[in-house]
């Protein structure tokens, strides 16, 4: 003998298409909800990871010097400023500093690049300190430079790919007409380093005639240090600018929060639509069963029984929708990812949407709670039916 839940279940199968459509609506809004939660989690994590991958929390550059290769390229490789190498030694004495890495960026115009020629950039690094900060850099072939001032280069994955280079090849630095030997090709890291050509910074100083000059210094701060306070200290050094990765992160986060509000509104609308769908479905099913419910009450069904019967139907619809929607969001995770990537002004490299069990449970919980809420009105309507009204209403029907 079916209990109240069994009766509820069988009733949902009576109007199968209607139930399926309602479940589908709920599934869609669950998908949006799960993806949204997953996004909140994944985006933050990916952004953090991207910034951690920089290896340093603070970048010191000569005042007015672009600090990003991309910006530099946009400016046509112009506008580089320098600071003296000596700054590294003085920074080393700061107790806040864990590690330092000096860098020297240079660009040349390569007439052979593309159809009209283009700017090629080189990043001079210190083979002792740079790899330690960027521990995620792994080699496809070869290794770092053999000497601090070797005429050697290491190519990022995409840079090598683009020019079809391998370890052992020689590359010519245009304008300077100097050749360097490729000693290493990196694996893909999903970061800016993929497109970079690395040289020892001393070699860059030599080739470009910039003895004792740097464009920037990456600073990794001790874990316990208050970065903001230390940044204040750095600002006091003349002729340098301080680029804080925490600030960069904030800027991006602010940018994204606008997008997040948008996604949130979409989610709320989706949930509202699903809610209206549920109320409509259940209410219709209550009104259609006016007499049945009245008869059940004449057999001793209490207000609570009928309320439960209708509520069960709502919960079942919502639970089914929740489970299907969660499964959908797991399976379609990649699709969701690219949709969000398309909407967002800036997207980090890692996965944007992270879905785990706790999150799915929470989303289903919310959907069921919404279902329970939507079910209240139809259930109350049903529970209030008096047997006599139901029986009387049938009198004229035959």
């Amino acid at each position: 003998m079916p209990g109240i839940s069994g009766i509820a279940y069988k009733n949902l199968r009576r109007k199968r298409l209607r139930s399926v459509l309602t479940v589908f609506g709920i599934a869609l809004s669950t998908w949006v909800l799960v993806s949204l939660f997953g996004f909140n989690k994944g985006y933050e994590a990916s952004l953090n990871k991207d910034i951690d991958n920089l290896g340093f929390q603070v970048l010191l550059t000569a005042k007015g010097c672009p600090y990003e290769a991309a910006t530099l390229m946009l400016q046509g490789g112009k506008g580089l400023r320098y600071m003296p190498e000596g700054i590294v030694d003085s920074l080393k004495t700061n107790p806040e500093v864990d590690e330092l890495t000096p860098m020297l960026m240079q660009t040349v115009f390569d007439v052979n690049k593309g159809e009209e020629g283009g700017v090629v950039g080189y990043l001079g690094i210190d083979p002792q300190t740079y790899p330690k900060m960027k521990t995620y850099l792994k080699f496809n072939q070869g290794n770092w430079f053999t000497q601090n001032d070797a005429m050697e280069a290491v190519m990022g994955y995409e840079a090598a790919e683009l020019e079809q280079r391998e370890v052992g090849d020689m590359i010519l630095i245009p304008e300077k007409e100097i050749e360097v030997k490729i000693v290493g090709v990196l694996k893909r890291s999903g970061t800016q380093d993929d497109g970079t050509i690395f040289l020892p910074y001393k070699t860059v100083q030599q080739i470009f005639g910039l003895p004792g000059q740097l464009t920037s210094v990456g600073i990794k701060v001790n874990k316990s240090v208050d970065i903001t306070a230390y940044e204040e200290e750095l600002y006091k050094i003349p002729d340098v600018q301080v680029v804080s990765m925490a600030q960069v992160k904030n800027t991006i986060s602010n940018l994204v929060s606008t997008a997040r509000v948008m996604v949130m509104s979409i989610a709320i609308i989706a949930i509202l639509i699903a809610m209206v769908g549920v109320i409509n479905t259940i209410l219709m099913s209550v009104l259609e069963r006016y007499q049945e419910i009245g008869i059940m009450k004449s057999m001793g069904a209490t207000t609570a029984h009928i309320f439960r019967l209708i509520w069960f139907e709502t919960i079942m619809l919502c639970f089914a929708g929740g489970v299907i929607g969660s499964a959908m969001s797991a399976v379609l995770g990649k699709v969701t990812d690219s949709v969000i990537r398309y909407i967002l002004p800036y997207a980090p490299t890692g996965s944007l949407v992270r879905i785990d069990l706790a999150l799915v449970v929470r989303a289903i919980g919310i959907i069921v709670a919404i279902g329970l809420f939507s079910g209240i009105y139809p259930a109350l309507r049903a529970a209030r039916i008096r047997p006599i009204e139901a029986i009387r209403s049938a009198d004229g029907e035959f």
């Binding site: 003998m1 079916p2 209990g3 109240i4 009766i7 069988k10 009733n11 199968r13 009576r14 007499q291 049945e292 008869i295 059940m296 009450k297 004449s298 057999m299 001793g300 069904a301 209490t302 207000t303 029984h305 008096r386 047997p387 006599i388 029986i391 049938a394 009198d395 029907e397 035959f398």
Partner: protein, 227 residues
């Protein structure tokens, strides 16, 4: 004196249709003994259904007094609340109507057992099989209502009304949708239930053959009992 199971005194039901007052049941005093088989007859609109609903605690009277079994349903112009009426309906009454009101999604067996879904678990329970056997439905238990004939549907409704062992069975035109052969079947069943199980039966019908099965026939006209 025999045990009275239903006693009414000056019981009235008044409907309002716009400004017009319709006295559907007009000061009806009636005593029904436990185990009695009573039928109500009378022209259409004479108040048979209205009176049956009052006696069966399905509807609230507007005036008069009503006692059912040991319960005072209506007294001093006040009737019991819906909440208190629910267990009384459940435990004392079984109802059968012209329409069968079977739940289309449940099998015959599930329909018969439906009242148990709304009862405390610890109560004594009858098996659907025994009742189905008695009503000639044994081979239909796993069928859905739409697979049954009208007569079978009404027998399922009767089985469902009997599952909680009611003291009183109320039937409003139970054969109204059935042909004469099926009507006779149902009449036979009701009569057997009254004789063998001592169930009190109140039957509303237009059908004189059916009414004649009752031990007492009460004729209504304009909401009043005709003597």
């Amino acid at each position: 004196m025999d045990n009275m199971i239903i006693q009414s005194k000056d019981l009235s039901k008044i409907y309002l249709r716009g400004a017009e007052k319709i006295v559907a049941v007009d000061s009806v005093s009636i005593d029904i003994k436990e185990g009695e088989f009573v039928s109500f007859i009378g022209p259409s609109g004479s108040g048979k259904t209205s009176l049956l609903h009052l006696l069966g605690c399905l509807d609230n009277p507007d005036q008069g007094e009503l006692i059912v079994d040991v319960f005072s349903i209506m007294k001093d112009g006040k009737s019991l609340s819906e909440k208190k009426l629910t267990p009384i309906r459940r435990d004392l009454f079984g109802y059968i109507f012209q329409k069968f009101y079977l739940i289309p999604t449940l099998t015959v067996k599930e329909n018969i057992l439906l009242p148990y879904a709304f009862m405390p678990r610890n109560g004594e329970r009858q098996s659907a099989e025994a009742i189905a056997e008695k009503l000639g439905l044994a081979h239909r238990l796993t069928h859905l209502p739409k697979e049954l004939s009208g007569g079978e549907m009404q027998r399922v409704a009767i089985a469902r009304a009997l599952i909680n062992k009611p003291k009183i069975l109320l039937a409003d035109e139970p054969t109204g949708n059935l042909d004469s052969k099926r009507s006779d079947e149902i009449a036979g069943i009701l009569s057997d239930l009254n004789k063998e199980d001592q169930i009190t039966i109140i039957l509303v019908t237009h059908n004189p053959v059916l009414a004649a099965k009752a031990g007492r026939i009460i004729e209504l006209e304009d909401g009043r009992i005709r003597d």
